[in-house]
Every structure is written in C-alpha cells, then in structure tokens.
Amino acid sequence: MNGIKRAQLLGWIVGLTVLLLTACSSPAGGSDVIRLGGLFDVTGATGDVGKPYADGAKAYVEYINDEGGVNGKKVDLIDIDYAYSVPQAQEGYRKLTQQDQVVGILGWGTGDTEALRALVAEDHIPYISASYSENLADIEENPYNFLSAATYSDQAKVAIHWFLEQWDENRAPRLALIYNDTPFGRSPVADTRVYAEERGVELVDEQVVDLTSLDASSQLLNLQEKDPDFVIINQTWGATSTILKDARRLGIDATFMGLNWTTGEGLIPLTEEAGEGFIGVVTHAFPNEGETVEGLSEIESYLDTKDKTLADIDQKFVQGWTSAKIMLEGVRLAGDTVTGETVREGLEQLNEFNTGGLGAPVTFSAESHRGANQIRLAQIQDREFVMLTDYIGYE
C-alpha cells in the first residue's frame, strides 16, 4: 500500500516544481541592464581573503553604476557565495548562465575555475578568476578564461630571477619549495622545477604543508637538513604564518619568499616577529600606498560615500576592485550588443590597460589571455610590507 502514497508524493513534488518554475523562470531586468556573475568565497576555507576580494568587486560595480554605468547601461552583479566547494560552484555557475544569463563571470579559486573551464568555453562566458594557475593560460583549451595578473608559475620565476640577481656567492643557490596538496598549491610546482634547472638553481627539497595546518615542524626539520638558501611558499596567510613561525623556532636562516596569496595585511598579525624579513609577491597595490598609486583615488572617492577610508580596506579588496574594473572595461569595449562573445572581443582589445597602478598593466589579445607577467616584491620590515622593487619580470 505504500506505493499509492509514494506515488502521490512524487506527484506533489512534480506539481510543486512546475509551480515554482512558472513563478520564477524568466530572469528579471530589461535589455538596458548588463548582467555579470560573481562566484566568490565569503564563508568558506579561503573566506579570509575571499570576502575582501568579493567586497572589492561588488564595490566597483556599485561605483560604476553611480557614475552612470557602462555605455549608459547599469551593471547588475549577481554574486553567489560558493563556500570554496567545487560542486556548489558548478551549481552556481549553472544558475548564473542558464537562469540569469550573465555575459561574464568573476570567479575565485583554482579548483573550481579549472572545473568550470570546459563549460565556460562551450557557453562563451568570459571568466576572470582570482586564480592565476598556469593551466588556465592555455588559450587553445581555455579560450574564455582571462588572467588579470601574473600566473603563479611566472610569480615563482620572478622570485627566482630576483633572488639570483641578489646572489653573490660563488656556487649555485639551493632552493626549496613548500606548497599544499591542492590544484592551487601544486599549480606552479612543475614549472618552477624546470625554471630552476634552466637558471642553474639547485632544487634541494619540496615539502607539502596542508592549507589549514597549524604545525609544520616535521616538514621544516626535513627541509633544514637540506640547508636551502631560499624557500618559495605557495599557501594562504594561515599556513604561511605556521611555516614562518616554525622556521623561526627551528632557527632556519634561509630567505623565505611567498607567492601572492601569502602576501597581505592579514599575514602580519598572524606571524608577529617571525614574519620579519619575509619577501612576498605583490600583484596588486596596498591601500596604504596612498598618493603614489593614482588608481586608489577612485576607491577613496567610493569609500567616501560609505563614510569609510582607505584604512578600512585591504589589498585583497583592491584586487577584487581591479578584476571587476578589467571585466567592465571589456564590457565597455564590447559596445552596444553585449554578449559573452563581444565581451571576449572587448577584453582582447585591452593593450597595456592602465589600472592606475592598482595592478600591472594588462594586455590581452586573441593569441594570449595572459594579462601580465610582472609583479612587485615586498618585504616585511617592522611589521609592514615595504616595496623592494617596482613591477619586474623574469626576462
């Protein structure tokens, strides 16, 4: 007898779903609105850097709408917090493309961006992610992914290149790598190995430290035995501070360098004095750089309307702001008919696009979506990041 009622329930479910569909099937808004998607991590594992990034991107859209929009059209940023979970990102992506019919997406992590790249290419959705994985730079495979800053591989190469320039001893320097076992962590490893060999750097050790690790003693003891001259870390703030603190405790005197997600205001309170001397890759401007970076004045005028100042935001906010700015520049160049296709063409017209110093100048073309390959390096001195270089490359 169960069968009867089961069948009835199924009927109910179907009926209700159909009702739901008719209620909210068509996306809202007319043709004078440009819909953009946002897949951000606000509450997930990388939320500490993901939330300011998302805030920055949303702030830029608000700013540009207050300025009158893009080509006279308002921009509607439909953002989804996918909590750093790949399945949720995939579901969110389907909502954005199929339900909301966005013309471009601002994304976040390496794992989810790579998981979506085939769909992005098929659906013709320009995608600017906060992941700078080298895999995404392959334009044949990922014709709709755009990288708005130097890839992790390029960042590591510049770090090695810079270190070699400072190196004055009469032997090959010894390098060690520390990363985590995720697509993000492993992304630059293979390229770094190759580049180190090319440049005559001896790669003596590689250690895997978990993204959420609170202790890295055993890995660092192994690393200490190999006695590296410099170490390149690819982590986020949390694991980087663990590594730096344990290294200090063990008395490892190598130079520690980190790629862009290790760098930022959030690292300093976590590491305290253990962070002194750490050299980080800087892809985007710090808000405290003030007048030397003209692009910050735009952010400042936006923050004014919110009764805030540059002191209330951090570098990841600037990064989100810049990504949105680049995407909307592509939309502006797309002209009157805004589709995924035309936005891609618009983005491909960007040539040395000046972000006002918020990031390295960005160039896209039909042959390459590698926006930039230059970074700056900054060192923690007296609990503050101090710039060591201007934007530099490795060639």
Binding site: M1, N2, G3, I4, K5, R6, A7, Q8, L9, L10, G11, I13, V14, T17, V18, L20, L21, S25, V42, T43, I80, D81, A83, S85, V86, P87, Q88, Q90, E91, R94, K95, Q98, Q99, G111, E114, A115, L116, R117, A118, L119, E122, N135, D181, T182, P183, G185, R186
Partner: protein
C-alpha cells in the same frame, strides 16, 4: 467479466505472476506509471537551470541508493562514498580518454571497477562492525584520494581530467535535457534493481545480517560472502553515479571527492530514510536542493534585512548540521516516515478515530 458499474473492492490475484508483481494493485501501478510520465515530461516544461538541478539530484540519488544498500539495508557503515564516486569518475575518464572506449562501455566498466575496489575495502567487514568499520572505510577514502593525487601519469594529479558528453547514434547528449533523460533512465534502473534485490534470496540475507548477524550466521548465511556482495553491489551504483557526474560536469579532480562528499551522502540516507529506496531519493533531493533553497531565500531576504542576510550566510553549515540533528531527534526514520505518517493521517481524514 467484472461489472463496470460496480466499484471494485479488494484485490483479486488469479495468477502467481500477480503475486510477484512489484506493485500488486493495478490502480497503484497506473499511478506509478503516471508519476514516471510526469518525470519524463518535466524537462519539456522546465528551464535548463531547473533541469540541471533535477539532474544533479537524480545523480546523487543513484549514489544514495547505492549507499543505502550497504548502510541502510545491510547495516554496514561506510565513510568512503566520496572516494568510491572518485573511482567511478576516474575509471570512466581514464577508459574514455586513454583507451578511447565509448561512454556506453566506460560507465558500466566504472561500476564494475568500483564494485571491485569496494569489495576489496569490504574485506575487513567480516571482523569489524560499527565504528571500527567506519574507520576502515575512512581509510579507503584517504588511500584512494592519495593514489588519485599522486598517480599523476594516469589521473592528471591535482589538475584533474576532462571528460566528454556521450554520443548516441551520432547525437551528442550535450543539452541539459538529453542528459537529464539519460540520468533518469539510470535512476529508474537503479531503483527497480534495488527494490527487486530485497525480494530475492541475496537481499533477504543482507537484511538478516543487518537485523542480527549472529542469527543470520546460525541460519546458514555465509556472512563474509554476503557482506562482500553488499559492498560490491553498493559500490557498483556509487561508481555509476560517479561516472555520470564526471561526464556531466565535464571535468573531475580530487577536490570533488573529499570527505565532505562522503558525509553529505550519509546525511542523504539518514534524512531520507535508512533502508528505503524512495527514502534515498528523497534524501538526495533534499540535500542537493538545501544550499540552493537557502541561498535563494537569502536573496529574497536581502532587500528587507541586508544585515541579517550577511550574517545568515555564515550560518549555512550550521543549518546543515542542525537539519541532521533535528531529524535524529524528531524523525530518526527520515522523510520517508514523515510521509508515511501523513499518509496514515490522510487515509482516514476527516473521520480519523484512530487517536494515537
């Protein structure tokens, strides 16, 4: 011949075949077919996004039915579902890309390979029960993911692998609608197989093991053999689900198969109802749609209460946990039992004299 003007009452079975039918009452049978028909009509009415939600729920349901065979019907707990989904997905990816075999061979093969791997990790189940077995299957989760990440030549390591949508007679199942039908057919097959399984000798042996393994052994049931069967059959469907998911999302990577996936599948069968096919489907739909419904209700609230919404989004994990706890306290038998209660209530309504 039956009098067409008289209302039929009672069930009349005149053939042994009638006794063996899955749904014995013709009216019920018709109703089931009608509902199935609605599911086939659904994609003609819905937008692609809603079809994709249904597809995801259906794929999860195949996996949840698989897990329910093991945990709900046989009483063997498994925390390795995530990794077994991965075995299915990766087998299909490797078979289609490295060997160039078609999807239609790769997916059953993925089921078989996962069944083998599952049976292998089921070996300790002869000696282990409950928490100990949970640890053993947790080990499966860790070992399998470790192999996937490290065996870069075969699996592509952390970068993952890409898969293609299947072709049938030269027609590519690239649209949401066509893939929905594929998954729906697979789900119906899985559900029919499982419902029938527990009417057979093997299925009854599994239920006997769950209810009291010692008694089952005394009755002559070879515990080891049947526990391995349970692991193999369960893993077969989980593998199929994994392969279907892989071909649906087009790219797979180790991050798709972590421990959280395993936990969400356990939550599906727990919330839906242990030891019930329809319960596994309810649970899969519930868990798949929960984050979507939360997000959408949040979006509705945002214009009215912007600050509440900001804080509420951080509570999503909490809602998930709360759901499980509330179900365990108030309805341990899951959604299926809630439905049964409702049905019992409605059966006599409005003249319900059967006070509890």
């Amino acid at each position: 011949m039956r009098n067409p003007f008289a209302f039929q009452c009672g069930e009349f079975r005149v053939r042994y075949k009638d006794d063996l039918a899955l749904y014995k009452v013709p009216r019920v049978r018709r109703r089931v077919l009608f509902v199935l028909g609605l599911f086939f009509l659904y994609p003609l009415l819905a937008t692609p996004y809603y079809i994709s939600l249904a597809t995801m729920a259906a794929m999860a349901a195949i996996g949840a039915i698989g897990l329910n065979i093991l945990t709900g019907y046989t009483g063997l707990i498994s925390i390795g579902v995530g990794a077994f989904l991965g075995v299915g997905g990766y087998t299909s990816a490797i078979v289609t890309t490295h060997l160039g075999l078609p999807f239609w061979i790769a997916v059953p093969l993925a089921g078989l390979v996962t069944a083998f791997v599952g049976a292998l990790f089921g070996v300790p189940s002869l000696r282990l029960k409950g928490l100990y077995l949970a640890m053993a299957t947790l080990a499966a989760q860790v070992i399998i993911l470790f192999v996937i990440v490290r065996w870069e030549g075969l699996t592509g390591g952390t970068a993952g692998m890409s898969l293609q949508r299947p072709d049938i007679f030269g027609y590519r199942l690239a649209s949401e609608r066509s893939y929905y039908y594929l998954v729906l057919v697979c789900l119906i097959g899985t559900a029919l197989f499982t419902m029938n399984l527990f009417r057979t000798r093997v299925g009854r042996a599994l239920v006997a093991i769950r209810d009291r393994d010692l008694a089952a052994e005394v009755m002559g049931i070879n515990l080891f053999k049947y526990k391995i069967y349970a692991f193999a059959i369960s893993s077969f469907f989980i593998g199929i689900a994994g392969a279907l998911m892989g071909h649906y999302s087009r790219i797979i990577g180790p991050e798709h198969y972590d421990i959280e996936v395993s936990i969400s599948y356990l939550a599906m069968i727990l919330i839906g109802g242990l030891g019930s096919v329809i319960g596994a489907i309810f649970g899969a739909v519930f868990i798949t749609l929960l984050p979507v419904v939360l997000r959408e209700s949040l979006n509705l609230l945002t214009p009215i209460l912007p600050h509440l919404a900001e804080h509420f989004s951080a509570l999503r994990e909490l809602v998930f946990g709360l759901m499980i706890i509330l179900f365990l306290i108030y309805e341990p038998e899951g959604i299926v039992k809630m439905w049964r209660n409702l049905k019992d209530y409605l059966k006599l309504w409005p003249f319900s004299y059967s006070k509890k």
